[in-house]
């Protein structure tokens, strides 16, 4: 950190200056490593079929991870994303006969609704996010089951609704386009728009942010609403891509999202975070699933589903410990 300006080179840009940049570097390195590993080891790993279906499916997780990242940057958490997506998928499926736009809007509104309730419970009732969104998770699953009559609801194939999930645009899956658009918007909001500064300042300390004259409650409300909206969008894609609103889907999505966010270097206590690294984090974890499937296909060692969860746990462990080690190495060189 005592570098003179003259020693600045292009390489300098790659030297991490903060833990966040370090985490980003770490996660990108691992993603690239996994890609190379997969490409060398498995035949069709980098086939366009695999890449495109990978993106089509994982766009849902990228969306909820983005919402989760925003919430976590404020120092909160949103456990309701899976339930919200499930409920939104049911609403979208139920409304899909009235046209793709109605289905889309319905799903989005359902998600937004849950997000707004979360926001209200957190800001007005001052209930801790963990509990507020835990309750919202239960309630949205309950509502989803009630609306769906305890079983999956078929979407309408007469309208264009399923195209939202199943079609391509310029040879690229529409869900992936949606996710990319959401991330671009998220990046602009966080890095370029004043609201991003507000989100991060709240994560730094809510009381302080309030004294600094920030509209803390409004921002928090907005962030939970955004997370709900993104989960709703994921729900719409869920319904459209699989042709059904699924009230029991989404279990464990919140943990996937939290892991992605953390692997992307966002700190759970708030105040620090990055949108791009969250996306890389989500891709990384999703790729682990994909690789496990391919590994099983090789037939060299047949991993039972149980070993897969052990491996996923171990992988998470390695990544976070690696990050922690690098961070402390950076601090005391």
């Amino acid at each position: 950190m005592t570098q003179t300006p003259s020693s600045q080179t292009i390489l300098e840009a790659f030297v991490p200056r903060s833990n966040l940049q370090l985490a980003r570097l770490c996660v990108i390195t691992v993603v690239v490593a996994l890609l190379i590993f997969g490409a060398l080891r498995y035949d069709h790993f980098l086939s366009s079929y695999n890449i495109l279906s990978f993106l089509r499916y994982n766009s849902m997780f990228m969306l909820i991870a983005l919402g989760m990242a925003l919430v976590i940057m404020t120092g909160g958490i949103d456990l309701s994303v899976g339930g919200t997506a499930a409920m939104a998928s049911v609403v979208a499926a139920l409304l899909s006969p009235y046209g793709w736009a109605v289905g889309l809007a319905g799903g989005l509104l359902a998600g937004l609704g849950v997000g707004m309730i979360n926001g209200l419970v957190v800001t007005r009732l001052r209930i801790q996010p963990f509990i507020a969104t835990l309750a919202a998770m239960l309630a949205s699953y309950g509502t989803a089951l009630l609306l769906a009559g305890n079983q999956s609801v078929s979407v309408s194939y007469d309208t264009a609704f399923t195209l939202i999930g199943q079609d391509d645009f310029l040879g690229f899956p529409i869900p992936a386009w949606i996710a990319i658009a959401a991330y671009v918007a998220g990046w602009v909001a966080l890095e370029r728009h004043p609201v991003g500064r507000r989100i991060l300042a709240i994560g730094d300390g809510e009381a302080t942010a309030k004294l600094m004259g920030l509209k803390v409650e409004r921002t928090l409300f907005g962030v939970y609403a955004a997370s709900g909206l993104l989960a709703g969008l994921a729900g719409v894609i869920l319904a459209a891509q699989f042709g059904a609103g699924q009230p029991t889907e989404g279990v464990g999505w919140e943990l996937f999202a939290i892991s992605s966010v953390v692997v992307g270097g966002t700190v759970l206590s708030g105040g620090v975070g990055s949108v791009g690294a969250t996306m890389a984090g989500a891709l990384l974890l999703a790729m682990v699933f994909n690789i496990l499937n391919f590994e099983n296909g090789l037939g060299v060692i047949s991993l039972s589903a149980y070993w897969q969860s052990v491996i996923r746990g171990a992988f998470l462990l390695v990544v976070v410990v690696l990050q922690a080690k690098l961070a402390s190495a950076r601090q005391n060189p």
Binding site: Y42, D43, H44, F45, S47, Y49, N50, S53, F54, Y57, N58, M60, L145, A148, N150, Q151, S152, V153, S154, Y157, Q166, L238, Q241, F242, G243, A244, Q246, P247, T248, E249, V251, G252, F289, N290, N293, F294, N296, G297, G299, S302, S304, A305, Y306, Q308
Partner: protein, 300 residues
């Protein structure tokens, strides 16, 4: 479009997209599929969707990417797995469905997939009800322990049973709650329901595990399972069949998880160019006091 065909070969690379592995029934199914593949010398690609229909579609897609010859799919749900079936078809890979089917309105056997091998959950519930109607001995008040809310076996086993009971008349379902297909949850729910409805004298559980939990609950409440309260279930695992022999369970409809032999037999028939029927029915046994002791050994 035509159903993709399967070349006749010495060995195949087959995919098996399992739904989940969190209960003995699924484990037995996977074991059977794997063991049979090993016996035949086939390459076996296995995925586990951990209870998520969406992940199962992704799993099927990764099998397609890996270029398997045929996919065995145990669809988690009727509707959401349609895209997987259609994607495989589009990629020229035949699909055989195991133990659950997909929505017949959206995909049909012989056109979109080869066939469905399995039993009929509605039928299972109905068979239990029919046995009950004959053997109730004046017992009428039923507690129903449902499977996981929203899952298709839970919905179908409920429908088959409830409809048949209603048609028979004279019975009353005093409570029907989910026990999540698990012994512990089934026991807890049974404990609560038995307290609230002490007059109940029949317990119908959607699987063995919950039935065994209910037996524990009955015993804790000082009631004699089989005598004071009649217990009925579906699955037919060894423990449950033994419980029939012990007089604790009245009757069990089998739902056999050993799909291996019939699955690969169907594959070979298809490769040989046979015309496959739309539904290859699994013949499910029925256990009650008449045959339980004799059959304990052969139950899965």
């Amino acid at each position: 479009a035509e159903l993709p065909s399967l070349k006749k070969k010495e060995t195949y690379k087959v995919g098996f997209a399992q739904t989940e592995s969190n209960n003995p029934w699924r484990i037995a199914q996977t074991e059977s599929m794997k063991a049979e593949a090993a016996k035949l010398g086939y390459q076996f690609v296995y995925t586990d969707a951990a209870g998520s229909a969406a992940k199962q579609v992704a799993d099927v897609n990764s099998m397609i990417a890996q270029g398997v010859d045929l996919i065995f799919l145990a669809p988690r749900e009727e509707k959401p797995l349609i895209p997987a079936v259609l994607a495989a078809k589009k990629a020229g890979i035949p699909v055989i469905l195991l133990d659950r089917s997909v929505d017949p309105k959206l995909a049909t056997a012989g056109k979109d997939y080869v066939t469905f091998i399995g039993s009929d959950f509605v039928e299972e519930g109905k068979r239990v009800a029919e046995w009950l109607v004959k053997n109730a001995n004046g017992k009428t008040k039923i507690i129903e322990l449902e499977g996981t809310t929203g899952s298709s076996p839970a919905n179908d086993r409920k429908k088959g049973f409830d409809d048949a009971i209603k048609a028979a008349g004279g019975f009353q379902i005093v409570a029907s709650q989910s026990g999540d297909f698990s012994r512990d949850k089934g026991r807890q729910v049974a404990e609560a329901l038995l307290q609230a409805h002490p007059d109940a004298n029949i317990v119908y559980a959607h699987n063995d595990e919950m039935a065994l939990g209910a037996i524990a609950a009955l015993e804790a409440a000082g009631k004699k399972p089989g005598k004071d309260v009649l217990v009925l279930s579906i699955d037919g695992g060894k423990e449950a069949v033994k419980a029939i022999a012990d007089g604790k369970i009245g009757a069990v409809v089998e739902c056999n998880p050993r799909f291996g032999p019939i699955a690969y037999k169907t594959l070979k028939r298809y490769a040989a160019g046979d015309k496959i029927e739309a539904w290859v029915k699994n013949t499910d046994k029925f256990y009650d006091t008449a045959n339980a002791s004799a059959e304990v050994g052969s139950a899965y």
